[in-house]
Symmetry: C2
Subunit: 411 residues, 2 copies
């Protein structure tokens, strides 16, 4: 047994979250380091779907909208996501897609700052957020999207014209974690609002939106929350903004009296104003099972294991990187999320070769291998084994073949 593997055994024995792994369905022989893209199913999701489809839909039929609590899932699940981001109840709903929630959040922020026109974001932001910000700016007269060259210059660009700063909590490539306290304070000092994208941090980073007086936040539920492919996203709005909340997707789920069939729109009170139309119940119920797996788990414990897993990975992979001209681009400090990114000239074929061996990470252009570490179902032994696989792949003749064939392909 290598020194890494021995150390892993000791770390696993002392891991307070080790028992959580049995809650998840993972195929044998796979080390899954792509939970930052799509988390695996909690085993309870299968029974939850059966209950929802066969019994509630099949037996309860339309009555289940009330009898089975379908109608209130946006709120009940929202509050449970709220706990994970440090939000008191009544400020978070689960609904629609992340992109649509970015749209609502930016519109809401612009409405709350009617004398300001600038949406500020990073040029290197997760691109889908920027696409939506473009759509908001283009469809709202006077609104303007300004992009900073990188995260270090973003704060300096916040000024008295800035209505809202849209920012990713974790950089999706490098895994760098933004300082939520400082950036939120900086925006507030300039009279601007902040929308935090928590897609890559919810469920693995300790987040305190209430304590930091965050204005708005959005995020997906299918990465570290394991809600299932395309599970509905969430949106948080600080209670102090609720009275002035407005967004153009004024659908019937956001109506003050949704079943009264009034011909005019009257906004609901509170966070429901950020809902729109009917939600996909089957997908929401898989997410419910996933949140059940997080019930009673302290986010601080998850964060501690996340830092320990990524730290252990970097410790073991560093000599491999040195031997094969690869570079860890994730911060060694605690200023990181739950992924480690490694730059390598042939990142794409290396990731393919790793996937063929059951070590599933992913590739981000132009040269980044991303490895996500989900503390609920990964062991330190998984980390050590993944590093062994990375070394073997980088050293193997098979991988050199893959490199040249891919090169031929892209030329």
């Amino acid at each position: 047994m290598s020194a890494g593997a021995s150390k892993a055994v000791a770390l696993d024995l002392a891991d307070p979250l080790a028992g959580k792994r049995e809650l998840f369905e993972l195929p044998p022989g796979v080390i899954y380091l792509d939970g930052n893209s799509l988390g695996p199913p909690p085993k309870a999701a299968f029974a939850e779907l059966e209950q929802t489809a066969r019994h509630e839909w099949g037996e309860g039929l339309v009555r289940s909208w009330n009898d089975a609590g379908w109608w209130s899932l946006t709120d009940t699940l929202g509050d449970r996501v709220g706990r994970l981001i440090g939000a008191q109840a009544g400020q978070t709903v689960v609904t629609d897609s992340t992109s649509i929630n970015v749209f609502k959040a930016l519109h809401a922020a612009l409405a709350l700052r009617p004398n300001r026109q600038v949406i500020l974001a990073e040029r290197d932001s997760f691109p889908s957020d920027l696409y939506i910000a473009e759509g908001v700016a283009a469809s709202r007269p006077g609104a303007e999207l300004r992009l900073s060259a990188d995260s270090t210059t973003l704060a300096d660009m916040i000024d008295e014209r800035t209505a809202v700063v849209l920012i990713n909590h974790v950089d999706y490539r490098t895994g760098a974690l933004r300082d939520m306290a400082t950036l939120t304070r900086r925006a507030h000092r300039a009279g601007a609002l902040v929308v935090w994208d928590l897609c890559h941090s919810v469920g693995v980073v300790s987040i305190e939106v209430d304590a930091l007086d965050v204005d708005l936040a959005i995020g997906c539920t299918y990465k570290y929350l394991n809600g299932g492919p395309g599970a509905p996203a969430f949106i948080f709005a600080n209670r102090r903004h609720h009275e002035g909340l407005a967004q153009p997707l004024s659908g019937w789920w956001a109506h003050a009296a949704p079943f009264a069939m009034e011909s005019g729109y009257r906004p609901a009170a509170g966070i429901r104003r950020l809902l729109c139309g009917t939600q996909p119940i089957l997908s929401l119920r898989a997410l419910k099972a996933a949140l059940d797996a997080l019930e009673g788990v302290d986010v601080a414990a998850i964060r501690a294991k996340s830092l320990a897993l990524t730290s252990f990975f970097m410790e073991l992979v560093e000599p491999v990187c040195r031997d094969f001209d690869a570079h860890i681009i994730t911060p060694r400090s605690d200023g990181r999320g739950s992924q480690v990114a490694i730059a390598h000239e042939q990142a794409y074929p290396v990731i393919q070769a790793l996937i063929d061996r059951g070590v599933i990470g992913d590739f981000r252009a132009p040269d980044i291998m991303r490895f996500g570490f989900a503390p609920l179902y990964l062991s330190y032994r998984d980390v050590a084994d993944a590093v062994s696989a990375i070394r073997e792949v980088l050293a193997s003749e098979a991988w050199r073949d893959a490199r040249f064939s891919t090169r031929a392909l892209v030329t």
Copy 2:
């Protein structure tokens, strides 16, 4: 056996769609006349969900986005819905909610008619459509929502300022079917576009959007398509409008190169431009099972049985209405959808008493009992039995108790 029941037996024997009922899960003892609100599950949906969750999500993990075709479900399911509305492939996608698709459709129409500002709709439209139209008008400078008093005056209000007419194919209360050919032609003659809401007609009415040169259409998939609670909706755009299609929800699924992670938005070609963000796959796969149940079924055959079922129901229920001061408000002509609405002073407690007996219809304020007839799983015998139950409930003492207790409640 009553004359109605005898006739029902004969009609069922001659019904070419009778065999389809076994494809659906319906609880014993229930006559389900609320499929116009939420259709029952196709039995195949249970296995489809198991396959999607346990095998594709659980074993394939993130690889299933490509390997299991998740990524293209918006398009593949869209084309199958397209067949049901008379749309050639490549013009329909399944995505998001009906409300969000109304938002996209109205914005797209306004962008296609840049010199016009008026959105025209009926005051008695399905309210959720109006809420969204309000949101569009309020957030788009100059845009104006004008409402007609009723459907008969709508056509006369179309003029050179009208950018788009938003209209329900079937009136959700009375069941009256709008004349799609005439209204579309009328709008086009005035240079306006039309957005048809097909929620209450898709799957039960013969629709020919291509033949009638309809501009845009939207609809849900959980009523007569039986896609499951909150299943994603669909949106159709005529191919001749594709080049000019624009809508502000410019998400990454609508990007020309969604995986290239470009920082700027470039719209996809064709109908994908009306997508936005990541879609709920579990809910989409239940819908796939539901569309499988419609595979190979001619919409004209469904429509013929729909008219026959509603006609048979009206024939049997008319003497009941006469005896108990109730009134059928659904057109007797073929100008109706697949529901029959009956006005009665105490519609609410009557519907409750019927539901208690297993005859599930629904209530719409102020005094309407709605009964939906889904040709794939209802028999003529169901119709005869439902009418017997309606007569018994209206005549019973128990119902009079219900009436008075409800009166007490609402006073």
